[in-house]
């Protein structure tokens, strides 16, 4: 997951690009004729300074490689954001991003 966090005018703006297929479970593999099992991110959270600043819950209709942008008040240059997502199959990815 790629994260960019920028602090300006007392606000930290965060942009996230999570690499994920976001399979809906409705697509059919053209070669085998079988349904491709669902695999999609269900939840993405962002913490700053031990506090949850953002929680996103996704269904299957969020695009492949989900993009998210949000902002919160405060933050500090050089400090770290902690992000994580988990998908419906139990996969988890965690990452840290420095506020610039």
């Amino acid at each position: 997951m790629k994260v960019k966090a920028k602090f300006k005018n007392d606000i930290t703006k965060v942009r996230v690009l999570a690499k994920h297929p976001m399979e809906t479970g409705r697509r059919i593999n053209k070669e085998t004729g079988e349904k491709i099992p669902a695999k999609y991110i269900q939840e993405l959270t962002c913490e700053y300074d031990g506090k949850v600043v953002f929680v996103a819950q996704f269904g299957t209709a969020v695009s492949q490689n989900p993009y998210l942008a949000f902002s919160f008040e405060g933050g500090k240059k050089g400090y770290t954001l902690e992000l994580r997502w988990n998908d419906n199959t139990g996969d988890v990815e965690k990452t840290e991003a420095k506020i610039k």
Partner: protein, 152 residues
């Protein structure tokens, strides 16, 4: 009583598996709204997610989506508002197999302004719902899709 080497190793493995078992449930601390996401009608999704389907149409909810989307697989959506005490922002696509697309919790200090990209199976109305002060405010717009985003 002396502990045999075998017994000691057994104790180690049992201990560590118990630790793992305790650690795994942390994967989801706020329950994913499965009933709302699985609902097939917007009204059912509203009811399940908010406990109510009484939406108040409001221009205070600023929904930005293209009128025409060439590719239904990635339609940019932005929702923002100047309203106070915003608790959550949710996005619904009326004619998708499952209308609830995403819901965002807005804790105190987080700004009610989000952007993401969503899929539209076909031309449909997109509705943003903002929960603020316990009320549900909504804004809808139709998006024409030339290539669907959920096809096989």
């Amino acid at each position: 009583m002396a502990i045999s080497r075998r017994k000691f190793l057994n104790m180690l493995t049992v201990g560590s598996t118990a630790c793992l078992a305790l650690m795994t449930p942390i994967t989801s601390w706020a329950a994913w709204a499965s009933d709302a996401f699985n609902a097939e009608k917007p009204e059912d999704a509203y009811k399940s997610l908010f406990g109510s389907n009484e939406l108040i149409e409001s221009d205070e909810v600023k929904l930005k989506v293209p009128k025409i989307a060439e590719n239904g697989g990635a339609v940019p959506v932005s929702v923002k508002t100047d309203m106070k005490n915003v608790e959550s922002i949710s996005i619904f696509v009326k004619d998708n197999p499952q209308p609830l697309t995403a819901t965002f919790q807005i804790p105190v200090g987080t700004i009610a302004d989000i952007s993401t990209r969503i899929r539209l199976a076909q031309t449909s109305t997109v509705t943003a719902v903002i929960k603020a002060d316990g009320n549900l405010y909504s804004k809808s717009q139709e998006v024409k899709v030339t290539i669907g985003g959920c096809g096989g």
